[in-house]
Symmetry: D2
Subunit: 233 residues, 4 copies
Amino acid sequence: MIKISLPFVLINFKTYAEATGKKAVRIAKTVEKVSLETGVCIGVAPQFADIAPVVGSVSIPVFSQHIDPIIPGNSTGHVLAESIRENGAKGTLINHSERRLKLADIDAAVTRAKEVGLISVVCTNNPSVSVSATALNPDMLAIEPPELIGTGISVSKAKPEVVTDTVKLVRNVNKKVTILCGAGITVGEDVGAALRLGTEGVLVASGVVKAKYPDKVLLEFAKAVTKSERGHR
Amino acid sequence: MIKISLPFVLINFKTYAEATGKKAVRIAKTVEKVSLETGVCIGVAPQFADIAPVVGSVSIPVFSQHIDPIIPGNSTGHVLAESIRENGAKGTLINHSERRLKLADIDAAVTRAKEVGLISVVCTNNPSVSVSATALNPDMLAIEPPELIGTGISVSKAKPEVVTDTVKLVRNVNKKVTILCGAGITVGEDVGAALRLGTEGVLVASGVVKAKYPDKVLLEFAKAVTKSERGHR
Amino acid sequence: MIKISLPFVLINFKTYAEATGKKAVRIAKTVEKVSLETGVCIGVAPQFADIAPVVGSVSIPVFSQHIDPIIPGNSTGHVLAESIRENGAKGTLINHSERRLKLADIDAAVTRAKEVGLISVVCTNNPSVSVSATALNPDMLAIEPPELIGTGISVSKAKPEVVTDTVKLVRNVNKKVTILCGAGITVGEDVGAALRLGTEGVLVASGVVKAKYPDKVLLEFAKAVTKSERGHR
Amino acid sequence: MIKISLPFVLINFKTYAEATGKKAVRIAKTVEKVSLETGVCIGVAPQFADIAPVVGSVSIPVFSQHIDPIIPGNSTGHVLAESIRENGAKGTLINHSERRLKLADIDAAVTRAKEVGLISVVCTNNPSVSVSATALNPDMLAIEPPELIGTGISVSKAKPEVVTDTVKLVRNVNKKVTILCGAGITVGEDVGAALRLGTEGVLVASGVVKAKYPDKVLLEFAKAVTKSERGHR
């Protein structure tokens, strides 16, 4: 398993025009620069077709945005864990709110990720679903209240209880899974708040990708991480 | 629009282990070699993440296996036409029997393909669905009776009426769309038969990818094409 | 096949609280009353579980909101055409914008409807998709621009060209299919306009079900139909 | 909440021809007869459209095969908990292997079932998914290895460890949820074995519905239940 140091910041490129094709590579390089300068572990999750070019251009961890719960075979148009892994991705989101999966398929996708050596980050929408997902033994969880995604209203400020309840309930049954949170994170203070609530990192998309100056936002995030970086693994 | 010369042979890599990652590149090179030697236009459709490495290694047309009917935005884990196009693909399958789409989404995906300059190949399962798909104005149709896919029993021999009915009904309403057929094609004779039934090419997967000697099978296919290459555009 | 006289008005109950359970029966009785008084053919499409009680209470045509493209067998939780038919429904919507189907499944569902003697009403979202759906030989089409559904802004006024283009393009290839339109229809004038644009009826939901006085709205609709009832089959 | 006495036998009618329309009512009467004669609690899960006629004909508990995670509104062709409840169902299957749901939707469907007073039976495919589902607080779980469904090879004999692991892992985190098992159950001995493995009932489909003499099979099941009926709630 690849080492991701905590706290971990993961930038989801979604299918934003600002992070597609050549622009995916460009923004990944910006992320890498901030990561190298600050020592904070920051990963990126570009679109499937952009994984290889991004991996070829930067040394930070690259994630897929999704894998299908399939083994090699007759699955035209699906996303095979092996193809993601062979092209250099270190991990994958599973069950993002924009790509929800059936329960049995999350289970199978987490298993497939383990089999090929991808870090699995299962996204969830509330505390009870987070506990439910934990039972499937993913490497990481990312709790994101869907109603806040893309709003610029930070989960760590608008719904801190969703984060603290998730941390409390999940830790009751599992000490190992890494807990991230996301939704509406746009400034350093949102990241600091997320870490103070007990998470070990954040999942961010538009807050960085659609920012006027992504490098400035990333630097702010990294500073917030560095500031809080005590008492964490 | 990129020129594809007819008859056209399109090799679908599906998610076969034999055509994933480095092996996708290797088999694409074999395809390119046969195409250059014989002058027959042969394209490949690797997995999303393998598109960039394959495009970087060969000069034959590369297709995606699927695109989603989305515009740039909040669509984590989906396949944006632009990302496929920017990574060098020339076209895309839409609605393959292993990745069926809703009718309104096929319409939107064909439109998206046109907008970014991707050749659209809509897959269909019977003559009436073929006429239905034709109304959406794709560049190509690929009729494949799903019950024969992967069987090694060729559509052109086992169900020639499916092909001839499709050609007849589609030509009634549209003279321009390129008609391919597929399912169970494994030997040169299957390709020859498909062309004699009125199609302008074939869509093949396991017949090549899982063959003991893909280069031999491809050569056979190319010879069958060359032999029939009269009276076609 | 059951006779539906044209122009035809079909009321979709959706899953509105105002048309669920006992209230489905109540509103169906109101519809029946107006239909009997005015002689205009008006049908209702309640939820699956409400079909039997509604059929038991009224003599107007009852439609299902959806059927699955399945034959009897291992399909827990799906909607079998036979179960709809046996409980007295005369027809079914297929591919409503809130229950879109894959293209091959629309084809199979239309076939299943024919097999069990249900009138099929395939819903579409634009003129080219309407032509596409026509190729599958349903009994009726209902063109509804999804962006107007539930808005109270009538398709017949806001987007008349969507309706006239649909009528023109569909009639080019098929003289028999009955063409309805829907979306945003709330007053009698919307119905009159729809008929003048060349349709043979309307598909309405909230305009009736969520109206303060459904009986008044229905009477208005019926008057608009009666007024235009010349030159139609 | 309606009382279901344990052990509980639930007969899933699926979309079998033998249990559609009038035949759904007939087989439900057979089930009721056996239940009344033996005192064993046996419920039936007919198709949506058959719920009202079945409820009108028998006094045993009637379940739906599925509900959608929706509230009343714009959801044409979906299954609203209220419509199921108002037509007399006492409970519902959720996430049957033939109608798998997304994780967040299982959570929402269980919540909707509670809100309207339906007993929720969440189906699962393996022990870890069972623990996962338990976190969503359904009333009942039904563990069914999908590869055995409809085979006549009983889970309680072919894969007893799937059942015992499920019971053990689920009981670690939840003492209250009722645990059923299913798949391949065709004779009384299968039911007896299921109860001895720690479950509190069974979910059966073809074993009863497609039996030559459903009444005989049901009697055998009931005897197996009666025999084991010690030490249970």
